[in-house]
C-alpha cells in the first residue's frame, strides 16, 4: 500500500521533512506498527516516536489512537500534543 505521512511542530523540525510518500508491503497496518517501523530508521526517529513526547496520530484528518488501522491511500500525521488557543 501507498500512504502519505505528515509531521508537525517539534517532529518536523527534528526530522527535517514535512511530508513523505511511503510504500509498504502490508495491505493494512495499525498506527502503532507504523510507529515501530519508522522508529527503526534512526535513534532520532525512535526518540521522537516512542519517547516521552506522547506523539499523537491522525489518519485522514481524524485524531486516532494506536490501534487505528491504516489502509492504502491514507494520509497519516504525527505531531506533539496540541497547544493552540
Amino acid at each position: 500500500m501507498k500512504i502519505k505521512i505528515f509531521d508537525f511542530a517539534r517532529l518536523k523540525e527534528t526530522w527535517k521533512f514535512s511530508s513523505e510518500d511511503l510504500e509498504l508491503p502490508d495491505a493494512e497496518l495499525s498506527l502503532l506498527k507504523l510507529k515501530g517501523l519508522l522508529a527503526k530508521r534512526s535513534e532520532v526517529w525512535q526518540k521522537m516516536l516512542l519517547g516521552s513526547l506522547k506523539v499523537r496520530g491522525a489518519i485522514n484528518h481524524e485524531l486516532v489512537d494506536d490501534q487505528a488501522l491504516i489502509v492504502d491511500g491514507d494520509e497519516v500525521a504525527f505531531f506533539p500534543p496540541v497547544t493552540g488557543g
Binding site: A58, H61, P81, V82
Partner: protein, 151 residues
C-alpha cells in the same frame, strides 16, 4: 457558522455584527478573545509562532462547533484562529456564540475553547531571551476539557 484559520488579524465588532445581521432572536452574545501574553512560565515572550495542520484544523474546529451546537441552543457561532508569527498583546483566537439565552451562550463558548485547546491541531513556539521553545500541553487544559464529558 463560520470557521476560519488565517494569518490576518480579525475584528470582533465585524464578526458580531455579521452574526447579528438580519435576525432579532439573539438575546446573548458571548465572545472569547485570546491574546499573546508577554510573560509565560516566568519568561518574557517577544514572539509567538503558531503552526497548524491545514485541512485537519478546519475539520477539527467544525466538529467541535457542531458538538457544541448539539448540546446547547446555539443560534450561530464563529471561530477565527490565527497562525504565523504574533507579537505580545496581539489577538490569537476568537470564539463567539449567539443564543437566545446567556447560560447557553456561556457554556457553548467555553466548551468550544476547552476542546479547541486539546483537540485542534495548533502548536505554539515561543521566542524568549534564551531562544525558541515549543510549548507543552497543559494538564489544566486536559482537565478543563474532561469536565464536559457526558456520563
Amino acid at each position: 457558522m463560520k470557521i476560519a484559520v488565517q494569518s490576518e488579524d480579525f475584528d470582533l465588532n465585524f464578526e458580531l455584527t455579521r452574526m447579528r445581521e438580519s435576525r432579532k432572536d439573539i438575546g446573548a452574545l458571548v465572545s472569547f478573545v485570546g491574546l499573546v501574553r508577554d510573560l509565560n512560565d516566568g519568561d518574557t515572550v517577544s514572539q509567538l509562532t503558531l503552526e497548524h495542520y491545514p485541512g485537519m484544523t478546519e475539520k477539527a474546529l467544525q466538529t467541535i462547533v457542531l458538538d457544541a451546537t448539539s448540546r446547547w441552543a446555539v443560534l450561530d457561532a464563529t471561530v477565527v484562529h490565527r497562525v504565523g508569527s504574533l507579537q505580545a498583546s496581539e489577538q490569537i483566537v476568537l470564539v463567539a456564540v449567539a443564543s437566545a439565552h446567556r447560560d447557553q451562550a456561556f457554556k457553548a463558548c467555553e466548551f468550544i475553547m476547552d476542546y479547541l485547546k486539546t483537540q485542534a491541531p495548533f502548536w505554539k513556539k515561543e521566542l524568549t531571551a534564551s531562544g525558541e521553545r515549543w510549548l507543552d500541553d497543559k494538564d489544566s487544559d486536559h482537565d478543563a476539557q474532561q469536565r464536559w464529558q457526558l456520563p
